[in-house]
Symmetry: C2
């Protein structure tokens, strides 16, 4: 889980573009939680947020008043999305590890400023998470749109790393008398909880996108 | 999920030190996956890794050859640990959100260099994840210890944010005819998978720490 050098990163994306692009997109589409790295007064800051992808671009949003959103706009960022899929228990400490999928996307964050483009981006976010829900919501107001900042990044420079499989103990360690293997980790949605006061008819008929929802 | 200003951060930690320290420690102890933000050639990079806590310090490790580990040693970092606990579906787009717990720890990463201190730190990591396992492993060699870099950070400047509860629609939106509520997300360990070739006696008697393992 160590990063490639910037030079390696670029090369990797160029050399294995088709493969990497598909893997990058699949990972971004699978896992909404992202960690955005940016600078504040020259110091690194890592902010959790939800990301979504539309075509060749990755998006995230926040409050227009947010220091992070203002600091990151027009500035270099690294957006990292990681799934921790399991633990690998080997016979030696050194060979222990994790099953994971991780993508880093690097670039300069661009603010989406056009109101129609902002609304379209938010609709796309909802479509990714809960398809069909956006048009059923109380429509956004102009003021709400102003209060929402959206940042975007082209998915051009990216690095994917994944690990899976059993522990890779060398032959001389194979017979060490300790349990070895893997422990999978799975993130699953629980039963939806209707809001207090939700009309009985709505509570009784939950939309299909709730049971289809996945984050992995 | 927007970050406080550096000034606010420090103040927050000082003013609510006892409360925050307990919350910070509980979160760090609950969730091993961390995202470390650091600079590489002046650009932000966010690297996933596992963290663990011993007393008032947070630790993570990697390969001594890792560019990240070398770039972060002695440099400013932000270590962020986040649990995504659920989705909040409101009547308007604006009020949508997530249930989450997140902590950012800021400071200068310090390398642990003394071999005995390094080994003790790795033992503490294992003790956090799988108590009692370390002493059952094939012992570390000096070479393996050299190949492992460990970084550490005092948990002095930190910021915790959490959100939970039902959607907070204003009264005028409460009767909008759309499903509203929350969808919990839970990460659970699956059934442990013994390594291929694990002795039958070991496979038949999995250690108790496997079923006790949690990451949330």
């Amino acid at each position: 889980m160590t990063p490639p050098s910037p030079r390696t990163r670029v090369r990797r994306m160029n050399e294995k573009a088709a493969y990497d692009r598909a893997t990058v997109e699949a990972l971004l589409d699978a896992i909404p939680l992202a960690h955005v790295g940016h600078l504040v007064d020259g110091f690194p800051m890592v902010t959790p947020t939800l990301q979504w992808r539309t075509g060749g671009r990755l998006y995230w949003h926040g409050s227009s008043a947010s220091r992070m959103m203002r600091a990151a706009a027009g500035a270099p960022v690294c957006v990292t999305v990681t799934a921790l899929d399991g633990m690998v228990l080997a016979r030696s400490g050194l060979e222990h590890g994790v099953h994971y999928r991780s993508v880093m996307v690097f670039g300069t964050a661009e603010a989406v400023t056009d109101p129609a483009a902002k609304e379209a981006a938010l609709a796309a976010m909802m479509e990714r998470l809960f398809p069909g829900r956006w048009s059923a919501l109380r429509p956004m107001t102009g003021q709400e749109l102003k209060a929402t900042a959206i940042l975007s990044l082209p998915i051009d420079e990216a690095s994917v790393k994944t690990d899976a499989g059993p522990p890779a103990d060398p032959p001389e360690d194979q017979d060490w008398p300790v349990w070895a293997g893997t422990v999978p980790l799975v993130t699953t949605p629980g039963t939806p909880v209707p809001a207090p006061g939700l009309a009985a008819a709505l509570a009784a008929d939950p939309p299909a996108y709730l049971s289809a929802f996945r984050v992995t």
